[in-house]
């Protein structure tokens, strides 16, 4: 049983005329999006990194002065910065596995041909299409200490919870909100991946007498590796750069517990016009993300070799 396709190593070692033709083809195929990505993402990033080495009056029309690593040094001395890093990591360590496991569970459930599956998928996906501002306002009202969710809790005998107004529950509440938004979205990618697993594997597994759990771990997961890598990386990145619910609902509070790095970056650059501190924190956020994504690629492979 040959599983996934072989890599294209062989043709890569081919003679140079063919290699040159391939290179030319690759350039033509890549050019439009790579040029846009370089111009609209990477060059502004370099500008931002450069800004992190400068300092000046926030928002001033006068040019800033070069200060080297001074902005970073100030950050490293600030307790609220370290709290921000810590909360960012705590939030991500919980939210990413949670979303992926639930998205995977729902994807498996809704790709079994149950009646109405298309409708259920669409409904679960819907929250992703609600504009962030709208969904944050909605959840802000739902989670109010005297809002509808607490209404339900007290109706079944559970005391009302403070949710977003408590330093101990705010991270959990934001995880709830972003999971409502994200799970259905990531589920769609996993469903597409599940549909791509040829039925023969499941048939073979059934003939071997494997139960559903063993089939899941020995067939589904290995054959789902590529879409799973995508969802893992993309979900992690999207949660690291998330700030809209924080901006609308908590402004980083209570007591700095939801002051995630990306919100801080937004607050510094948009509210306070302080591009210098904002950029410095962006550099740190990027370093953290690069480290994590590298580990994820190591764990699941780049997808080329398997």
């Amino acid at each position: 049983m040959t599983s996934t396709p072989k890599a294209v190593q062989a043709s890569r070692r081919n003679g140079s005329p063919r290699g040159r033709r391939n290179l030319l083809a690759a350039i033509v195929f890549l050019a439009p999006s790579v040029i846009l990505i370089v111009l609209l993402r990477l060059i502004p990033t370099i500008t931002a990194i450069n800004q992190s080495l400068h300092q000046g009056i926030p928002g001033s029309l006068n040019p800033p002065s070069f200060v080297g690593g001074q902005v970073f040094a100030q950050l490293f001395q600030s307790a609220s910065f370290w709290q921000s890093v810590e909360q960012t990591l705590i939030f991500n360590v919980i939210v990413n596995p949670l979303q992926i496991i639930l998205a995977l569970a729902l994807a498996v459930l809704l790709s079994r041909g149950l009646p109405g599956s298309r409708l259920w998928r669409t409904i679960i996906f819907m929250p992703a299409a609600v504009p962030m501002a709208g969904s944050a306002i909605l959840w802000g009202i739902a989670l109010e200490p005297s809002g509808p969710i607490n209404g339900v809790l007290t109706a079944v005998g559970i005391p009302a919870q403070p949710f977003l107004t408590s330093p101990h529950q705010v991270v959990g509440s934001i995880i709830l909100i972003v999971s409502w938004i994200g799970i259905g979205y990531w589920m769609m990618f996993l469903i597409a991946g599940l549909n791509d697993i040829p039925d023969v594997y499941y048939e073979a597994s059934r003939i071997d007498g494997a139960g559903p759990l063993r089939t899941f771990f020995s067939i589904t997961i290995p054959l789902l590796r590529r879409p799973l890598l995508f969802v893992l990386v993309a979900d992690t990145v999207s949660n690291f750069v998330l700030f809209a619910p924080v901006q609308i609902l908590t402004n980083g509070g209570p007591q700095g517990q939801s002051n995630f790095l990306m919100y801080n970056i937004y607050n510094q650059s948009f509210n306070l016009s302080n591009a210098y501190s904002g950029s410095a924190q962006l550099v740190i956020l990027l370093i953290i993300m690069i480290a994590i994504v590298t580990v994820q690629f190591r764990l699941l492979g780049t997808g080329e070799d398997s």
Binding site: I35, Q55, I57, L61, P63, S78, E144, N271
Partner: protein, 445 residues
Amino acid sequence: MHIHKGVKRLPVAGALIFSAALVLSSCAGTGASSSSALLPAKLTEPTKPVTINYAGAAYSAADIKPVIQAFEKLHPNIKVNYEADPFESFNSILSAQLTAKDKAIDVFDVDMPRTDAYVNRGWLTDLSSVFPNVKGKIDSASLAAATVSGKLMALPYQTSTNIMYYNKTLLKAAGIPFPSADPTGRLTWEQVESDATKAKAAGAKWGIVFDQIDRYYQLEPLSTSAGGGAGAGGPGNLTPDITNAGWAKAMTWYSKLFKDGLSPRGVAAAQTPNLFANGQVAFFPGGPWWAPQFEANKSLNFGVTAFPAFAGGKAATPTGGWSLGLSPTSTHKDAALIFMKFMALDNGGYSQYLTALAVPPSNIQGSERFYNSAAFKDPRMAGVVSLMKYELAHTAILRLKTVGYIEFENIITNAYDDIIDGADVKTTLANASANLKTTWAEYKK
């Protein structure tokens, strides 16, 4: 569908154009122009048609339309292009747009307490020579907010004041006498708290809800009335002063409202008027601009009284609003100034062309039309006009005047939120104070 086709081919072509543009622009250099050149004392009407760009957040495009139309009728050579920006993100948009080169904003709304910060950033032009005699024509608090180091840096056009609404049905049920609308009948915050407790016990869902529940605009008067001041002192008001006894007293009082369940936690400022409009709130210190919404609920029986003060403390009420600023990079300064003059000064200013007025104009002559608003004729608003006139003249206090205001507002709002959510008042204020100190260090250099 030809649009799609056109755009489809764009990426490749566009990318080439961009790479060229990038090379060119990096050679062009920046060089922000400064505004040292003095403006002419006489304004000359343009002889050829010009268009000025006005970025605003106080009014929607639809609301301001009649004003712009009236202006363009009087000044046929000047067209005004109004850009309404979302209120919540206006200040951040402004900072991006003023530094952008091709947008060329000529005139923009200036949130009054930010005037000093904007001057420090080089965003504003000195208007003293163009408008030397505005004293007496414009409300004095507005003028003070727009004046930096003795120079008029922005032209105020609209201000505000606060009153306290009360729900008669809820007060009656609790046996609380209705307070009068006369400033001499001003309640103390201590009294309001005890009445709010009674009202809640008698069935009100909330005893008291502040309109701007976590905003410095409305909470500063608490600290001032308790003797704590605006929040900073020293040169340039850059030394935080929020850990004094007055601030502690005011914030402890405010914190208790939420601990005792008299005020709701977790409610956004934009939502609070709905609570009063629904008849759930006994006392609602707030802006007169909510009157139309409250009056729309025919079964809501309410009255108004003065914004309270602490027992033994001085009366202090919120004030301030919007000024107009002239961008130093404007290429149509004369036309822009003619427009600003029209908005703030000519015949009482912009307010005479608005269909409904939410807040008083800074122009004293123009404010009569505000006081005659239909919203204040409702019997439930009885006494509000003379009350507002009194507050604006006697008790209105400006927000902290400092180049570091933007950071101050940011940090103090978070502190208010923490206090509302039950954090220890003294620790919260001490942390905010330390935070301010580091943040303001850049300005003290």
